[in-house]
Symmetry: C2
DNA sequence: TTTATTTACTAACGTTCGTTAGGTAAAGGT
DNA sequence: ACCTTTACCTAACGAACGTTAGTAAATAAA
């Protein structure tokens, strides 16, 4: 065969990301998914083993991408401000190159069942921990103000994790504009 | 009758907020709701006319609260920084006194059907416009940096709208701590 | 005390859910 | 040429969905 057309397996998964994003996991039926792909619902099961598997794959795939991007980004920079900005860029980068899946990652992980749910939460905590450590180091080095670290990281993630929303607006913002704007605001603030 | 116990109508709506928050609108069935209230699913319909009505009420009730709180808050302050901080406080205040419903407001409005969906989006745009105008005024008065207004407001809302998450963490943060911390970060930034 | 309203029940409606069983036709490997 | 595998189909499973109908008991109004 060699060089097949983009196969059904992949097509189904891409379509599932799109639908889970648009209608939510619980709001998307396997029949919806099948119709969008152009086959019967039962035929989906030649390419997957359950609806839940789709969600599971999406969430953990994105989780892994976040880790990888973070690790390479911060390794390349010295200094807390630069590390933080690099981490922000990496995080936004993963979102912008996985617009559907990352939306699912942020909103639909609640439908994971144990034990995956627990595993997922743990991964997320670990990932956030990376950001907390950058900020702690920054405070220790007197680069950053003595803020409440947890709250600061919370605020940063809130801002970053909503950026998928920016890409559907009509404004054509480049990724670097978004990165610059958000990290400037978070690092230097609004006040003159 | 006089002074009835907290009536069923109210009880059902409070329980619905809790369940819609925990399991999502699509992920909550009327039988789930009935069981939690302690009656049969069919009996719910003595107190409401449809599942959708519940969602509709929650979303528009919170929308109204946001408007009211915003208007009184900014009317009491002069100067862009103070107005913005007051608006932030008001916004967080509405969230913190409606923890269930505001979560539904942020995540489940997508399940509204037309024409309510359109009406909802319009209200939200108008509300955000209030924040944009504060920032525009602040820039014009040289109080604020010349930031991309839309992106700044986007970032602010992202941070504010996630605060409902803070109240379920074990840390006992007071509302004023949260307001101070977030508005300081957004106004003055992380950098020293 | 009779009457009307409210609140709950059981039973069931038609629909949709995720998924399985079993079959068919084409493609690929040997 | 044969056999296996892949990819689809139709049909159907039992369960769950939102909601309606009809009724009985309790409560309030007259």
């Amino acid at each position: 065969m060699a060089i097949a057309k983009l196969d059904r397996r992949t097509e189904i998964r891409q379509t599932a990301k799109k639908l889970f994003k648009e209608r939510g996991y619980a709001g998307t039926s396997m029949r919806d998914l099948a119709k969008e792909v152009g086959i019967e619902a039962a035929s989906l099961y030649n390419h997957l083993s359950s609806k839940e598997e789709l969600l599971h794959e999406m969430c953990f795939d994105i989780a892994e991408q976040f880790f990888t991007a973070f690790n390479t980004a911060v390794a390349e920079e010295k200094g807390s401000s630069k590390k933080l900005k690099a981490a922000i860029r990496a995080h936004i980068g993963v979102i912008s190159s996985n617009l559907d899946a990352s939306t699912v990652f942020f909103h639909e992980w609640v439908f994971l069942k144990e034990p995956e749910l627990g595993k997922f939460k743990k991964l997320r905590y670990q990932y956030e921990q990376g950001f907390r450590e950058i900020i702690q180091k920054g405070i220790a080095d007197k680069d950053f103000k003595e803020v409440n670290v947890k709250l600061a990281v919370f605020t940063i993630f809130s801002a970053l994790n909503a950026t998928y929303d920016l890409y559907k607006s009509s404004e054509k913002l480049s990724q670097e504009e978004i990165v610059e704007s958000i990290s400037n605001l978070l690092l230097k603030g609004l006040k003159k």
